[in-house]
Amino acid sequence: MARSVTTQHKTIATVAAWIVALLIFFPILYTIITSFKSEQEAIQGFNLIPSGTFESYTEVQAQSGYFKFFLNSVFLSVGSTILALLVAIPAAWSMAFSPGKRTKDILMWMLSTKMMPAVAVLFPIYLIFRNLGLLDSRIGLMVMLMLINLPIVVWMLYTYFREIPGEILEAARMDGASLWNEIVYVLTPMAVPGIASTMLLNIILAWNEAFWTIRLTTTDAAPLTAFISSFSSPQGLFWAKLSAASTLAIAPILIMGWFSQKQLVRGLTFGAVK
């Protein structure tokens, strides 16, 4: 290597980067630590070593039925993602493989719907949901989450599908493959990684969506975002419980996020940065 890296340089960079990284990660780390404390320990000042009790975890379930909210989060994020994929895959497919004159305009227009501020349509949506009896219903919220993430899903799939070389299709056609065979045996295997990445990112986004999930639910359909927000009102000190609930709420997504860093960049920048 032409670039000489001195050990000293590397040591300084390592120390500096680790200090900054730990500072940024600290609120999460401290939440995890606090979740293993008792309520009394939690407010006794700064302390990085918990007594290691699981009390808060069992209590958060016993007192507030934590897993109901957790299951709602799973159902809503996975359900809305599958729904979005079903609608978006054919669209992205046709835009990538038989683009017309207006494909670009349609893509841009789809993106523009993502830029509408949610709050501007809060009341009409609330009214529509109320009149259809969809307030606090899982199905209603699932459709809602599908709609708000649909533009990102179409875009992300489009950028992946566009990378599949069209020549392969022609070759398959020359060999006499029918459209159905073409889709099942040639395209699907090549498209699976892109679809999987899109799915992962969309689950993360749907899981963390914190406007509609809070405003359109009360109890039955409430996911973790709404449940955690309910901790804001009481003035009591339930920090260990809050920490346990928070840890469980962010853990699955944190782990998924770690594995999807690259796809995340691509999805969130609409393919502009890879």
């Binding site: 960079a13 999460i28 939440t31 054919p90 038989s98 949506i125 809070i214 996020g257 920048t269 502009a272």
Partner: protein, 290 residues
């Protein structure tokens, strides 16, 4: 060839997405526009009816309106400054050769995956609480008076929380851009005796400019509609000190049931978002032409 056939097939495949998004965009927005010219109160329907622009006039003349616009802009601009400058510095740092780079990267991007209510409540209770928070512990350790963040400096507190959530995003995108910089170019610049600063200004920064634009635009879209962080920390207060435009519209609509005024506020939010969207679309659109 079967172009006619493929074209109609393509239309057919696109139809569900297009129709869904069209309905999703047009219907609620049309309703909001309609309500913004109506007197409409679900609790007191007697005086309902067309009122022209008076909702807009009422919403504008509300002292909270100016405050909320000011707060919205303060939030967006402060968080952008912190995350873009911080993100560039962090990306440069993490790009250096070091031990445990993968773990550092994971630690730094983690806050982005934390759902907004959790992020806000953790900061509110465990970090910034004037009595039991870590900041208060640190202040007492140095013999200083702990700061009542949400009482005294609510906007600063919210800016810190939101910046913490978005710094990882900026860092991750800028780091990705940085790592795609051609190593040979860097070496050539080094051989020519270019120092770190001039390499940064003439080589790295221009290379990252597109990623920086994208970060600014995407963050602006999300920052214009910050909601949950305010709801669980200050609830817009004290007074209107930390109320932004989305929060004000929410208060008018679902707490005060002044639907007309809320809708007028919503239309203003749409106009604001459209100004940003216009630039965002141009930046992303360029990518399609390549």
């Amino acid at each position: 060839m079967a172009t006619q056939q493929t074209r109609s097939l393509a239309r057919f495949m696109m139809a569900p997405s297009v129709v869904l998004l069209l309905v999703w965009m047009v219907v609620p927005l049309a309703l909001t526009l309609w309500f913004s010219f109506q007197q409409y109160n679900p609790l007191n329907p007697i005086r309902d009816g067309f009122v022209g622009f008076s909702n807009y006039a009422l919403f504008y003349s509300n002292p909270a309106f100016l405050q909320s616009i000011l707060n919205t802009l303060t939030l967006v601009i402060s968080v952008l400054l912190i995350t873009v400058i911080g993100g560039i510095l962090l990306a440069l740092l993490i790009d250096q050769p070091m031990w445990g780079q993968g773990i550092v990267r994971i630690l730094v991007i983690s806050p982005f995956f934390v759902m907004p209510p959790v992020a806000a409540l953790v900061w509110k209770n465990m970090i910034m609480h004037p009595q039991y928070g870590v900041f208060a512990d640190i202040a007492r350790f140095f013999g200083a008076q702990p700061i009542d963040w949400f009482g005294q400096h609510p906007m600063t507190a919210i800016i810190i929380i939101v910046a913490w959530q978005w710094l990882p995003f900026a860092t991750l995108i800028l780091l990705t851009a940085l790592q795609s910089l051609d190593g040979e170019q860097k070496e050539a610049a080094e051989m020519d005796g270019a120092g770190f600063i001039s390499r940064f200004i003439y080589l790295t920064l221009p290379h990252m400019s597109r990623a920086i634009t994208v970060v600014i635009l995407i963050q602006t879209i999300f920052l214009l509609s910050v909601y949950a962080e305010i709801l669980v920390t200050t609830n817009g207060g004290p007074g209107y000190a930390s109320t932004n435009l989305p929060f004000l519209v929410y208060q008018k609509a679902l707490l005060e049931f002044k639907i007309g005024q809320a809708s007028a506020g919503g239309i203003i939010a749409v106009i604001l978002a459209n100004i940003v969207a216009f630039f965002a679309m141009r930046a992303v659109g360029k990518n399609l032409d390549k």
